[in-house]
Symmetry: C2
Subunit: 294 residues, 2 copies
């Protein structure tokens, strides 16, 4: 990892980890609800969505603090989706990032409500960004709700459940992942472009780059799930295999998955090339996702 | 019920029941997810929030179709809250409006996701109202997310759970109900005022009227729960008592609850008086809530 990118990652993570809890702590709401929301918000993670958004701002020489509200809204929606996905009725996971899942600590009912509250609050956050015009904010609300909703993340989650135990081909698997995680990652990139005032064409190409990044993320996760250790990835090794879920290495073999990873990495860089954005943090970001060992 | 109000109720219900499913049917999303969303959206109900919103529009001589998108967004959020509240981890209800609850038909995982999708989609709907300015839409998103979130409905739901088995006084019970249902009903009224272009003062007084209506609704529900029959109210009689929940008749006795109902009815009418809005559908609405027998 090059030095500039490493400082950028650290700076962004620190900013997010400082600001994110404040949006919840300042709420006039039940103590127990806020505790449950904060527990999962503060559980760490790679903060990939904020990092992506802010890498776009940086590539357009825009101050990264201009993206803080939207970045925190993204983390709230990502976090709510993890809380609900971990529930006994869904993936029934006891551990997340090496810590007990939300419902294990606060009980199922509170976990469901904490997720609902995080999702709802993300829209409060978007509606209150003081430095954006009402037009821009409404555009963000529209894109965000599409990426997170039935057409995007929630629909992808259901498709993923339905697909359990079925054998999928690579296109079907990629279509599920695109909805389940790709749409929100693409929104992070698109939101950065919109906040930075990029053109419609640039926003479109960046959004395509974002979808590639989502795919890279998932393929690499599947590879790590097979090769990694529980210390490294914070959940039991091979848990996807035990859950009877299709994975890229499962369909293509480990070498095939690695080839696919490298092809989509090239595609992501090509989109950046098209916009003259090679050798920015956006390239570093794609490289980081592909090279990480956890 | 007077004739004008009865036709208005029917007209509004018909409009909502025609338009509401369309917003889901037209979604490019998993069939099973849409089925689960539609099942609960189409399960009927009094459509109180749309009716309130549209009664405000009518009082201001604004066409009621100007409120259709926001009214449908309100029904989506109300419906999602019912789906999640009925879950085994929450109230564990098998029946809702005389029909099996969502998770009984589609399973818990799909019910959780259908709720999430309805909540998320309500914001898509708000962001896409073509006849409102971006400023107005962002104002609605901000108010709506507050009314529905940790400070409002979701927080009220958790407070309600925490209060189970505890003996509350009337103020504590009213504070819980205000968050759990009052805030969203007040938003319905406020949204009507904003769409109709009412002044800030008018909007504030109407919002206070909306909170009174929320209270009337809950007190009357508690009374019906005690006095009604399962055919009339679509759920087992006295189910709140069995759930060990505080109710107005439980705290004040049946007569005390009826006196409280009548006092808040007077207060609601006084707010309307202040705005010269007596003898409008808004008065009929308050009367209807208090007089209904189911």
């Amino acid at each position: 990892m090059n030095h500039t990118f490493e400082s950028f990652l650290n700076e962004t993570k620190q900013l997010i980890e400082r600001e994110l809890p404040e949006y919840v702590r300042s709420l006039d709401a039940e103590y127990r609800l806020k505790e449950a929301m904060l527990y999962s918000l503060e559980a760490g993670g790679k903060r990939v969505r904020p990092v992506l958004l802010m890498a776009v701002l940086d590539a357009y020489k825009c101050p990264i603090k201009d993206g803080i509200e939207v970045a925190c809204a993204l983390e709230m929606v990502h976090t709510y989706s993890l809380i609900h996905d971990d529930l006994p009725a869904m993936d029934d996971d006891d551990l997340r990032r090496g810590k007990p899942t939300n419902h294990k600590v606060f009980g199922e009912a509170t976990a469901i409500l904490a997720g609902d509250a995080l999702l709802t609050h993300s829209f409060s956050l978007l509606s209150e960004v003081s430095h954006l015009s009402a037009e821009t904010k409404i555009q963000l609300v529209s894109l965000f709700s599409k990426a997170a909703g039935a057409r995007g993340m929630v629909g992808g989650q259901l498709a993923d459940m339905i697909a359990e135990g079925k054998s999928l081909d690579v296109d079907q698997l990629a279509s599920i992942h695109n909805r389940k995680t790709g749409e929100l990652l693409a929104f992070a990139v698109k939101a950065g472009a919109i906040i930075a005032g990029a053109s419609e064409h640039e926003t479109k190409v960046l959004s395509a780059y974002g979808k590639e990044v989502g795919l890279l993320f998932q393929i690499k996760d599947d590879i790590l799930d097979l090769e990694g250790s529980v210390e490294d990835i914070g959940k039991p090794v091979g848990s996807d295999v035990h859950n009877d879920k299709s994975t890229y290495p499962g369909i293509l073999g480990l070498d095939g998955a690695k080839t696919m990873l490298s092809n989509h990495y090239e595609q992501a860089l090509q989109y950046l090339d098209e916009l003259g954005l090679r050798h920015t943090l956006l390239e570093d970001m794609a490289t980081y996702i592909v090279d990480r060992d956890r």
